[in-house]
């Protein structure tokens, strides 16, 4: 996906495991990658089922493939996916450990998210909360 001009960036914040939101976020992520723009999807505490190993396969919508296909395709297309990891204790309570995160997903706290989203929005990028 080589681009001569500077790549535009789309930073998505997903705050829910609800299929209606999760599918929207991943469809937007795939669409962004398709258009050749850089995309990052930040899953907050409310959306951790998506990035837990095997979790996305349990999220479905009538007529669509399970969400894990979208997740895998997004990662393979270069979408950076991060999971909110505010503290080890909170993650433990949510049943999330580095070992059961989906391959290609990394932990990041809100400062890490903003550290990338702020400069991106300053140069015309999009930040969307879903």
């Amino acid at each position: 996906m080589s681009q001569e001009e500077e790549q535009q960036e789309v930073h998505l914040v997903l705050a829910s495991n609800d299929p209606g939101r999760a599918y929207s976020a991943l469809v937007l992520a795939l669409g962004t990658a398709t258009m050749g723009a850089k995309c990052k999807l930040y899953c907050t505490m409310g959306a951790l089922d998506i990035v837990k190993k095997g979790g996305a396969s349990n999220i479905t919508m009538p007529g669509a493939p399970p969400l894990d296909k979208y997740l895998r395709d997004a990662i393979d297309a270069g979408v950076q996916i991060t999971a909110c990891g505010p503290s080890k204790e909170m993650l433990l309570q949510m049943g999330v450990t580095p070992d059961n995160l989906e391959k290609g997903v990394e932990f990041e706290d809100v400062i890490g998210f903003l550290n990338a989203a702020l400069p991106a929005s300053k140069k015309g990028g999009m930040v969307l909360f879903i």
Partner: protein, 97 residues
């Protein structure tokens, strides 16, 4: 006989050349949900190293054939051609130049 298919949309300065271009990869996106027809087109284009070849995308989605895939091609500065294969069935040929 595919050369005789009707061109219904052209995003190419040399549509005749593109129509005769050899198809390196064909992708069948029939029945796929948005944004997969466009997404699979881009994926197939990444396999296209030969500037003389093209890829062919089969779609039964009018939206994909006339709006989504052309938009992606324009954004990425690719040449494209939409051919009418049958009623509600289109072939989109995409090339680098």
């Amino acid at each position: 006989m595919q050369n005789e298919l009707k061109i219904v949309m052209a995003g190419s300065s040399t549509p005749d050349l593109l129509q005769r271009s050899s198809i390196i990869k064909s992708v069948d996106t029939r029945g796929m949900a948005c944004p997969y027809p466009s997404f699979e087109s881009v994926k197939a284009m990444s396999l296209l190293n030969d500037v003389n070849g093209c890829i062919e995308v089969i779609t039964d989605s009018e939206e994909s054939a006339f709006k989504s895939i052309p938009s992606v091609c324009q954004k990425r500065k690719w040449q494209f051609l939409v051919l009418e294969k049958a009623k509600n069935l289109w072939l989109v040929r995409i090339a680098l130049i």
